[in-house]
């Protein structure tokens, strides 16, 4: 295999002057975490880029597969190495350009000559290598301004480094560089996408889910666990807090007029989430709400729900269309899981005609006859916490069968 390292260009990090060092360290730690299974990785960092040494074919394959999901990476390139000898360089250039065989494309040679003692000047290298590639590839022509492919040659102290392919990274910022928030994860299409978008902005997540057995099945909880697990592939562990919610939900149905139960349910969920958020030291609460999508997501409803807390509620999907959300869910691989048809806690207790414009005063009034505080404390206390990524238990159960 010719590839000896992967060169990583940082995302927005390059622009963040003072905190740059923290960001780079965070990105390095996240990469180490993501690639635990092929550890140890030799990672060298520079001001605006990072090098990962490749020692085996397996490492190369895993890196190429998973690097596009790591936030904080603008782009990356597999890099080949040869000795500082013009013939060797010519040979390697052809091997690298081999991957574009059969495509009509334009290219140029870009040289970075950090070893100034190298006998050939940059433009001489450009000329020699460029001519050699052109001679051997009739499908390639030169275009200096906007080439399809840039063959980059770096003359460093120890050797010549060469690359041509630039692979798009996930962009964004390294997860963890922007604090921690609690994601309300329902099992639907929207909330995993909301979590993903916040992770992309560098937010570390924990998730909370409201579970109402027997009205909702173990399958629906299992689905939420799978979703939490899927989000971990963007480079961080996620803890899932499962709140036993049946008792509260039944009580709400009993005590509050039916067209207000939905608003009250949301408000209590928010209060519980806020308590959990405080305990885990998170700063915000993330939801998948999108304006006007359902009765609980009108501005009036959001106002009534928001009334129970001062914590920032982050709603990254607020202005997204459903189809846009589905697009992202498909891209990040949560869509198929989300559409599995299990009852979740929202669908079962939904009244036929929920208020789309609830009034805060009225909701407060209806709720004032019931003491919810102790129930809330108990639900928070009795929550179950799961950690992801989880070793897949199902796998072990089927061991040997296949």
């Amino acid at each position: 295999m010719i590839w000896k390292e992967i060169l990583i260009r940082y995302g927005e990090l390059s622009t963040k002057g003072r905190n740059k060092k923290d960001f780079i360290n965070r990105l390095r730690a996240n990469i180490r975490h993501t690639f635990m299974d092929i550890a140890p990785l030799a990672i060298e960092t520079e001001r605006d880029r990072m090098h990962i040494k490749i020692e085996s074919e397996e490492q190369y394959e895993v890196l190429m597969k998973k690097l596009p999901t790591v936030f904080g990476i603008q782009s990356f390139s597999p890099v080949a190495v040869c000795s500082k000898d013009l013939d060797e360089m010519k040979k390697l250039a052809l091997v690298i350009m081999e991957q574009f065989k059969g495509q009509e494309l334009t290219f140029k040679v870009e040289v970075r000559r950090s070893d100034k003692s190298f006998p050939l000047e940059s433009h001489e290298i450009q000329r020699e290598i460029g001519a050699h590639v052109l001679r051997n590839n009739s499908n390639i022509s030169v275009q200096v301004k906007k080439p399809d492919v840039e063959l980059r040659i770096e003359v460093r102290q120890d050797a010549i480094y060469m690359m041509a392919q630039v692979i798009q990274g996930a962009g964004g910022m390294p997860v963890g560089s922007n604090g921690k928030s609690l994601l309300m994860l329902s099992g639907g299409i929207d909330s995993p996408v909301a979590g993903y978008l916040l992770m992309k902005r560098g937010v570390r997540l924990e998730a909370i889910h409201f579970f109402s057995p027997p009205y909702t099945s173990d399958n629906s909880l299992q689905k939420v666990k799978v979703l939490a697990n899927e989000l971990t592939k963007f480079g961080a562990n996620i803890r899932l807090h499962v709140i036993p919610f049946t008792e509260i939900q039944v009580l709400i149905k009993d005590r509050v007029p039916s067209n207000t139960t939905m608003t009250t349910t949301r408000r209590l969920m928010m209060r519980i989430a806020d308590k959990v958020r405080e305990e885990i030291g998170a700063l915000g609460i993330v939801t998948g709400e999108s304006l006007g999508q359902v009765a609980s997501q009108t501005l009036e409803s959001l106002t009534a729900i928001n009334d129970v807390t001062n914590t920032p509620i982050l709603r990254p999907l607020i202005a997204f269309d459903k189809l846009e959300i589905i697009d992202i869910a498909e891209q990040i691989g949560t869509y198929e899981t989300s559409i599995q048809p299990f009852e979740d806690c929202c669908t079962i207790f939904t009244p036929a005609n929920p208020k789309t414009k609830p009034k805060v005063e009225k909701v407060n009034y209806y709720e004032s006859f019931t003491e919810f505080d102790e129930l809330i404390d108990r639900a928070v206390r009795n929550r179950e916490v799961y950690k992801f990524p989880e070793e897949n238990k199902v796998k072990d159960k089927f061991e040997g069968l296949l």
């Binding site: 099945s217 173990d218 399958n219 299992q222 048809p341 299990f342 199902v394 159960k397 089927f398 040997g400 069968l401 296949l402």
Partner: protein
């Protein structure tokens, strides 16, 4: 008993039987059920599907479980043309396909489809030129087997695929029942098949289980209608134990393919040399260009049935050209297609090797066959 009839069927591997029993005991729920046991069975089914998809270089959703090779072949033969009538009604296949293909296209012919049957040469191989000449704008399906079940001829699948994909819009179906696990066969964009049929019991799996696999999303009409299982393409409760057992048998077949094909080739060469000593009393239908696990030949002026009985008396199981046709009185269509001299038409027998055969089996066969020849042909040879 020395069993040399592995192309008729194989003895299931112990490991495969164990899987079958364990899945029946522990994961017997209906994989379409929404309760926990059903979800679990479905998870296991998906794992089996994924494993087979990996072996065939396609995606999980393009693997469907069937009741065997015949169903898979019928599905391709009826399903593709009927879903593509807007493109045309022309089908190409060969003279030496399995009856599950030939009977299918015959029935389509009665419904007004046009069918061209490609001829084969003395080695049982089609001519690329003839294929090229027969391909038309309105050809919707080309079905060509990879390895012939009666004499082991191997068709050049890659070459055939690239011509079909280059010259026509036809779907290319490959009956790989006799080749899977013996020769490499998998999807490979335009350089390979679009549909592959596989049978479980030919690879030391279970009878009544098979696969039809697609390279990509297919325009195809289901054979079986009902509860809409298998993405609506194959109704009927999916037989999870069979599916998982098949995934295991397929994995074992592919993992041991290099080793076993070397073994089969050695025996094949050894037996070709051995049979040469009988001179014109023996006519070979197989050649060293064909598949290594099938060796078929004919004894002059003898009936295959008599040879089989004589060998059986000595504890050796072989068959006439194929198990399907051996109970029928007429000469097999494959033998007819090979244009054998009439002295040799009746006396065809087929040896087929499997994973459980040993060097000793081959030695025993040679001994017994020498005896049989002495008994039936006297000292004239």
């Amino acid at each position: 008993m020395i069993y040399l009839d592995n192309s008729a069927t194989t003895k299931p591997h112990k490991e495969v039987l164990n899987t079958f029993i364990q899945v029946n005991e522990s994961f017997y729920a209906n994989p379409s059920s929404i309760h926990e046991a059903g979800v679990e069975a479905n998870t296991l089914l998906d794992r089996a599907r994924g494993q087979i998809a990996d072996l065939l270089h396609t995606q999980e959703q393009f693997i469907l479980f069937t009741a065997g090779g015949t169903e898979s072949n019928n599905f391709a033969i009826f399903g593709v043309p009927k879903a593509n009538t807007h493109k045309g009604k022309h089908i190409i296949t060969t003279e030496i396909e399995h009856p599950s293909i030939l009977e299918g296209v015959k029935s389509l012919q009665n419904e007004g489809y046009e069918v061209d049957y490609l001829k084969v040469d003395a080695n049982g191989v089609i001519s690329i030129e003839e294929l090229q000449a027969k391909l038309r704008k309105d050809t919707v399906l080309v079905s060509i087997m990879h390895v012939n079940n009666e004499m082991g001829a191997v068709q050049p699948i890659e070459e055939i695929a690239s011509i079909i994909h280059e010259k026509s819009r036809a779907t290319f179906h490959v009956d790989a029942v006799q080749s899977f696990g013996k020769l490499p066969i998998f999807f490979n964009d335009d350089a390979g098949p679009d549909i592959i049929s596989i049978s479980g019991h030919k690879i030391h799996g279970l009878k009544g289980s098979g696969i039809i696999a697609f390279r990509k999303k297919m325009n195809i009409i289901p054979l079986l209608l009902g509860g809409g299982q298998e993405r609506g393409l194959r109704s009927g409760t999916v037989a999870v134990p069979q599916a998982v057992a098949l995934a295991k048998a397929a994995r074992m077949a592919i993992e041991t393919m290099d080793e076993s094909s070397k073994k089969y080739r050695k025996w094949h060469n050894d037996l070709l040399e051995f049979l040469a000593q009988f001179g014109e009393n023996i006519h070979l239908l197989s050649s060293n260009k064909g598949a290594a696990h099938i060796l078929s030949f004919s004894v002059k002026d003898l009936k295959g049935e008599i040879l089989i009985n004589a060998l059986q008396k000595r504890g050796i199981i072989v068959s006439t050209s194929s198990a399907c046709s051996s109970k029928q009185k007429k000469t097999s269509h494959v033998v007819e297609a090979l244009d054998l001299h009439s002295n040799y038409k009746k006396g065809v027998i087929r040896l087929s090797f499997g994973a459980l055969n040993t060097d000793e089996d081959i030695i025993e066969f040679k001994k017994a066959f020498t005896d049989v020849m002495k008994e039936l042909k006297g000292d004239k040879n």
